[in-house]
């Protein structure tokens, strides 16, 4: 399973925790993942940020984090099964139904459309 398909499925799900490393300063960032791309640049909403020592907190409405500054992301455990299911379903639906199902999938809550056919997800051009 590809790391990015996990992240794609994590969109609009609560509680993604990231640690990022802006100018050698380690900060924790908690929030709802709204969007991500292939560089792992992400946008979060309802964000709680801490400083390196973890003794100061900021609440931020929305923020964008450059992928290259991220060290790791913590995602809800349940997502692993969601993604695995999606992939088997996509594989089974697979070859025949290509194109039809995953084009207009924005309003589809379950991430199924986005997880999509395993290698189809290159052009995800929704702006931030």
């Amino acid at each position: 399973m590809l790391p990015l398909s996990l992240l794609n499925a994590a969109q609009n799900k609560p509680m993604v925790r990231t640690l990022h490393n802006f100018l050698q300063e380690r900060r924790n960032v908690n929030g709802h993942l709204v969007n991500c791309d292939n560089f792992m640049n992400i946008t979060l909403r309802e964000v709680y940020q801490t400083n390196a020592d973890g003794d100061r907190f900021w609440k931020v409405k929305e923020c964008y984090i450059r992928g290259s500054t991220i060290k790791y992301l913590r995602v809800p455990d349940a997502l692993l099964d969601v993604v695995k299911e999606d992939q088997t379903r996509a594989r089974e639906a697979g070859k025949g139904a290509r194109g039809g199902t995953h084009v207009g999938g924005v309003g589809r809550g379950r991430g199924g459309a986005r997880g999509g056919p395993p290698r189809g997800g290159r052009a995800r051009g929704r702006g931030i």
Binding site: L4, Y72, V75
Partner: protein, 95 residues
């Protein structure tokens, strides 16, 4: 990076640039060696206390952060009593 294939669904130890040691089941990876670990735990080493395991759940680690990925020999691992191990944490990378 084809050589990570053999580690899929195995229990592995990741050592990161900041010196942290994380164990978990390697559920996925990509060309940049970004890694998905499920059921992961951080092993925190200290000289004074035994090893502490902190559950982290599902974790996505960026490839740039990774120094080493080791396959854990479950049999050998189960014979080790972590609480008896006293060691300094692994130092972070110094270029």
């Amino acid at each position: 990076m084809s050589s990570l294939q053999g580690y899929v669904d195995r229990r592995v130890l990741l050592i990161l640039q900041d010196g942290r040691a994380i164990i978990g089941v390697l559920s996925g990876y990509d060309q940049k060696s970004n890694i998905v670990l499920s059921d992961s735990k951080e092993r925190v080493y200290s000289i004074d206390d035994g090893v502490e395991e902190i559950p982290l759940g599902l974790y996505l680690v960026k490839g740039d952060m990774i120094i080493l990925i080791g396959e854990i020999d479950e049999e050998r691992d189960s014979t080790i009593d972590l609480s008896t191990i006293h060691a300094d944490p692994i130092p972070p990378i110094r270029y």
